[in-house]
Subunit: 127 residues, 2 copies
DNA sequence: AGATCACGCTAGCTATAGCAAGCATTTCGC
DNA sequence: GCGAAATGCTTGCTATAGCTAGCGTGATCT
């Protein structure tokens, strides 16, 4: 494994992300560690960027914080932006959603994308 | 980590999966190892279920075999059916959304899915 | 036949993930 | 004020991920 990758840089990012999520959820380090099934000294090291957690641990933390595992993986660099099929196709194919829910979710998604596109266009135009 | 989990059972599964993919792609162990950036003895151990690869290594192997990373993660037990190739993975992988938007969309999606589950329970109870 | 190459593997090693034991400090309840 | 509880962290440890060096075997080349 390449030592020039500087995993501690990524580790700091995912660590701060986890700490922010935990604090926003209003739970202590020990409480989250217990829910996630990891030791509290280890969670402290992860949050401070001193240890790089495995995907299994990230999965457990995501579950304990009620955050989707793919979002956690994305932040940890374990998933690319390019992975997975398109959101709209996935929404349409989901068997657990009603038609009304699919429509609502798709509309919210496209609103978000239009927000980003508008911001990007504005910035580019001004530049 | 619990020793009763028997990670070797899962390891055998992902190992066979990788070996099948490799053979179907018509490449040797050394060729795949080189493309994936791992050592060939290690890849041999992984394929034979003797070592449990990290998510980073799985990502590299998936890329070398031109298989989507979520599919590989699903097979390795690092993603659930529910957040594997599906809506949550697609949301996480979307390059056009901010992290905040991804989280909001994921939470709305899971709220919808919980509504469906509750409705289903109610219907079942009444029957 | 002998040399070389490609293959998949074994053996032994280092770095680190993740833990238990215990510490210092702060907060809480009496 | 005091003792208990809760918090976040340090220290030292074990298990294993991933590697390098080298092996035995079969295929290929001269």
């Amino acid at each position: 494994m390449s030592t020039s990758d500087k995993p501690r840089e990524i580790g700091k990012d995912i660590g701060y992300f986890i700490r922010d999520l935990r604090r926003n959820a209003g739970v202590s380090l020990r409480q989250l560690a217990e829910k996630a099934g990891v030791s509290n000294p280890y969670l402290s090291q992860v949050e401070r960027g001193l240890r790089k957690p495995s995907a299994e641990v990230l999965q457990q933390i995501a579950s304990a914080l009620r955050v989707s595992t793919p979002v956690m993986y994305l932040r940890a660099g374990l998933l690319d932006d390019r992975d997975g099929p398109g959101v709209l196709a996935a929404i349409a194919a989901d068997p657990d959603l009603t038609v009304a829910q699919k429509q609502t979710l798709s509309q919210i998604y496209e609103t978000f994308r239009r927000e980003i596109t508008r911001d990007t266009d504005t910035i580019e135009e001004e530049t």
